[in-house]
């Protein structure tokens, strides 16, 4: 895989969970009423996406240290 292709993949992999975080955060911060159940669900999804982002960033940093 070329360096450009690796960069594209990394960008895609990082943007995907970030989209979940920003999307649900926007809903939580918005004006519309949200039930407690939905609020918990959205927060759970943000949490899971944040864990995935941390895993991706750790893997990236490990790669850079190994390079």
């Amino acid at each position: 895989m070329s360096a450009d292709e690796r960069r594209r993949r990394l960008r895609h992999d990082l943007h995907t969970p970030l989209t979940i975080v920003s999307g649900f955060a926007e809903v939580l911060a918005g004006d519309r009423a949200i039930s407690d159940e939905d609020r918990r669900e959205y927060a759970t999804r943000i949490h899971a996406a944040a864990i995935e982002i941390r895993r991706l960033v750790d893997a990236l940093l490990d790669d850079q240290q190994g390079a």
Partner: protein, 216 residues
Amino acid sequence: MTPLSLVLIEDHQALREGLELLLSREGLEVVGTAGSAGEGRDLVERHSPDVALVDIRLGDESGIDLTRELLDADPERRVVLYTGSSDVELLISGLDSGARGYALKEGTPNELTAALNTVAEGGTYVDPRLRPQLLSRQATQRMPSLSKREREIMDLLAQGLTGEQVAEKLVLSSETVKTHIRNAMSKLEASTRVHAIAIALREGYIQPPASDGQTA
């Protein structure tokens, strides 16, 4: 008002489920979700949604290739490509595939809903963050390439077949063939079919017909 129907094709399960929730909340009817190109194609064929949202990367598969396949089969389908990349080459390939919309993952759910509504209503959408790159690229842009199906149809027209005969040979409806021809003429900036064939020949999209009159 009937809600806009949507098929969502995204390989990342958590994002797929998240988008389904968010877009349903925005009033869209998500009639199907898929994690691969094959499943997505089946869903679009089964449900004929107002619009399909297609991730540009579906694991090892390409959302751009899937878009080409969907539009080769029915050019009236409306597809919005969805990507985390602002790579301009990818953008050009995506738009060349016939997708009518190009939305970035960094956009908000409201922006995505607006993009889907615009495309479902027959318009086009490019994420505003990409417009400067697109405009700078257009200054030096080559002519947009014809899709495989458009080339195939122009090739048959160049061999002297009528639109009806092309439709029969390719097992497509006449309307579908007309739409492909219209799209090809638009891409080639041609005013007539003959003009389009001439440009397609000149640009090397199709080969001149065999001089002995034989066709494949």
